[in-house]
Amino acid sequence: MAGITIKKRPKYLNFTTLVSNRLPVMGRVSFLHRISGAALFFCLPILLWLFGASLTSPESFATFKSVAALWPVKVILAGLIWAYAHHFCAGIRFLLLDLHIGVEKEAAAKSAIAVLVVSILLTLILWGILL
């Protein structure tokens, strides 16, 4: 064998690579982990406001209920439930990878698909209970 190639790390992917079909499923989960985290960050004020309103007084609780019943808010909340569920599942997968569990290519692809499926199922269950 000839010389060792040293890969440049961290690898920087531009946006078109991320949304194109060339990205394997593990990469998609990684990208969605970032997207879901960013979405949760930008919606933190909405969530804190809703949490505060729900706990302050019977009147503010009523306001919270009427705001949460509006369909645009419901859509945002459904999106945030998915973001939390995805971030949770993908995060556990990354923790397992850190412990060298499931690092082989095939296992990593399978667990990435599992993350996508389980997070959508969790979203549907939580949607059914909460909204």
């Binding site: 970032r34 985290g37 960050f41 933190l44 804190l48 729900s54 706990l55 923790l95 850190d98």
Partner: protein
């Protein structure tokens, strides 16, 4: 020799480890609070408020919030480091991110300790 810049990563094990420790704290809290809410099934304001007025749950919820905001800082900082290339822009974004997250911590404490 690593070129250390002020708006770069915080080198070493610390941030990497904090990101994982806070993740575990939040994951455990998420499962516990779902279990508590499934057991109590609060349907009225009094019952809902009663859950979070409990001293243990209040404290755990605040710990969750602190973990969330610390975790958020590391994650969002990584995003700015990847996409905000001019150092001046990145510095402003870092300062704004820290400012809102410290504010959110106070906001969360105010919500919980009003109960």
């Amino acid at each position: 020799m690593i070129n250390r810049i002020v708006v770069g990563a915080h080198y070493g094990l610390r941030d990497w480890l904090v990101q994982r420790a806070t993740a575990v704290i939040m994951a455990v809290y998420s499962v516990l609070i779902v279990a508590v809410l499934c057991a109590v099934r609060p349907s009225t304001f009094e019952a809902w408020q009663g859950v979070f007025a409990n001293g243990v749950i209040k404290f755990m919820t605040f710990l969750f919030c602190v973990s969330l905001f610390y975790h958020t800082w590391i994650g969002v900082r990584d995003i700015w480091m990847d996409y905000a290339k001019p150092i001046s822009v990145r510095l402003v974004l870092h300062v704004l991110t820290i400012t809102v997250l410290v504010g959110y911590t106070g906001w969360a404490a105010a919500i919980l300790w009003r109960l």
